[in-house]
Amino acid sequence: MNRKQQFREGLITNNPVLVQQIGMCATMAITTTLFNGIGMGLSVLIILTCCNVVVAALRKIIPEEIRLAIFVVVIAGFVTIVDLLLQAFIPALSESLGVFIPLIVVNCIIIGRAEAFCQKNTVKDSFFDGIFQGLGYTCVLIIMCVFRELVGSGRFGGGLIDITNGFRFTLDGTGGGIQIFPADYGMGIMNLPFGGFLTLGLLIGLMQYALKKGEKKKKLEERAAKEAAAMKEVEE
């Protein structure tokens, strides 16, 4: 399988959030600070990759009839592991993501990829699928976080970056971020669920617009190539 193609699919043409439109619940709820977005994105990436590998490895011995039950057990296992590890070692992230880490169990991205991809593909392909789809998810979260945080509170990198004593990254979620304009001028509504809906809607619209444009261009190119080929034939 072509890695480049897989990469393109995960990040753009078959992006889990913007094109497949799955796993949107957490996407809208937690994208309020960069800290949350990166934490959630990486958690999903790790869980997705692990589940993909395990499901692909077991694909020959998983009976068709109970595959969903087995997927759920595998996913729930990995989610619980990540949840416990976060609680133990990055408690701030676990606290600010709250119920959305356990909810990854029912996140469509993971069961969707298991059902649609890993059942039919090799462990290696599934591993890269997990990485690329997870990256696609993380990228969307980061874009949404940066936009909502900037417009909503005039800040960049809340929880993750601290600049009070020189620039440094904070993993305990205490960083105040970089204040670009005073928070009073921020559109507070962007920090509320409404802002999540609005941002996601605009992003999906933009993505579809870009994809359609790309398709049109491709079609035109194809037609031009065909015409050129036809001309050649005629000449010959």
Binding site: D184, G186, M187, G188, I189, M190, L192, F194, L198, G205
Partner: protein, 369 residues
């Protein structure tokens, strides 16, 4: 140039319709004229700031409308004046102390997100000016609740900002003596720029009714519902008699402004006549629910926005049928439509099944190869 351009003729009434020379531009011009008295009162009471806010609102609304249509290569729609009306209406719902950039953000949301993204004039599902105001209210709660002291109260009240009479009405403190009912009627009270003078609003409303830009149904049922509910339920909790309570509820806050200028927006209110009555009733009932039980002092904005969302369903409920058609005919027609749908679905299913079969055969053939 403008003669050649096709002008949109608005279908403001339910069928049967008569074609007239009235176009969007003329209607919008009438709305602007009707808002002038309220604007003049605002300038008299609060000085220059209202002027700045109105200019900023109108200019930004027109700019966003022009910019969006230009960016997406659509025909410009700024000369139908609807953006001017949105900007002016939004500015008039703001407190006079609001900074000049506030209407710019409100019109950005109202014009671009609510109006243009859904297809432009006539296709918006919320009143753009009110949606913009709600957006600002949720984003800048502090800036949107700073009420300047009007000029005519300046010697009495020695402060730059003060509580609105509506706020005093629904608090235990009681109504200060300097808020007389006469002052409320004339507009010598703090509040949003356009809502303070009930006289100016009634003048503007009368003009709109006379020009037949709006019908009496929505304003009358809206205001009537508020009056009736306050008369029935009263304000004993705050120490008012029922009749006094009703007058106070109408003379403070933005019920009148909302009823004449906001709830009557064509695109977001029902076109059926009984539907309009129900729409007005819903606005009034929701306003009073929010005033009595809500966390905000004023509920007009949210009441009208919620009813905007129901306008489509209301029209559907009050759908009128062609003359001479009885219930049996309608039932028969409905059954026919349902049967058509079913047969169409069956055909589609058959077609897909055939396609699947062909694909499977093709795959099998390739496999055998």
């Amino acid at each position: 140039m403008s003669d050649k351009k096709e002008r949109i003729i608005l279908d403001v009434a339910y069928q049967p319709q008569v074609r007239t020379g009235t176009d969007t531009r003329r209607l919008m011009l009438d709305v602007i004229i009707s808002l002038l008295p309220a604007a003049v009162v605002a300038v008299l009471e609060f000085g220059i700031p209202p002027l700045i806010l109105m200019v900023s609102g109108v200019a930004s609304a027109v700019f966003w409308e022009w910019g969006y249509r230009r960016l997406f290569k659509k025909e410009s729609s700024i000369d139908d004046l609807s953006a001017v009306v949105t900007g002016l209406l939004l500015a008039l719902t703001l407190p006079p102390t609001a900074p000049a950039w506030i209407p710019v953000i409100g019109t950005l949301f109202g014009i671009v997100i609510v109006k243009q993204l859904y297809g432009g004039i006539g296709k918006n599902f919320l009143n753009p000016a009110l949606a913009g105001r709600a957006f600002l209210l949720a984003s800048y709660a502090t800036l949107m609740a700073r009420w300047a002291t009007p000029n005519s109260l300046m010697p009495t009240v020695d402060a730059m900002t003060m509580a609105t009479p509506l706020g005093s009405l629904y608090s235990d403190g009681g109504m200060p003596a300097y808020f007389g009912m006469g002052r409320m009627f004339l507009g010598m009270i703090p509040g949003s720029m356009g809502e303070i003078s009930k006289l100016a609003i009634l003048l503007g409303g009368a003009y709109l009714l006379w020009r037949k830009v709006i019908s009496w149904r929505i304003p009358v049922s809206f205001i009537g519902t508020v009056a009736l509910l306050t008369l029935i339920f009263g304000g004993k909790k705050y120490g008012y008699g029922n009749f006094e309570w009703m007058l106070y509820n109408l003379l403070t806050g933005s019920v009148l402004f909302g009823a004449f200028f906001m709830a009557t927006d064509y695109a977001t209110s029902p076109v059926t006549l009984n539907g309009q009555l129900l729409f007005g009733f819903g606005c009034g009932a929701l306003t009073m629910l929010i005033r009595y039980f809500g966390g905000f002092p004023e509920g007009t904005t949210y009441a009208i926005l919620i009813m905007n969302l129901c306008a489509w369903a209301i029209d559907k409920a009050f759908h009128r049928h062609q003359f001479g058609v009885n219930k049996a005919d309608i039932a028969a027609e409905k059954a026919q439509v349902k049967a058509d749908k079913l047969s169409l679905a069956a055909e589609e299913a058959k077609a897909t099944a055939e396609l699947r079969k062909a694909e499977a055969e093709k795959a099998a053939r390739e496999a055998t190869k």
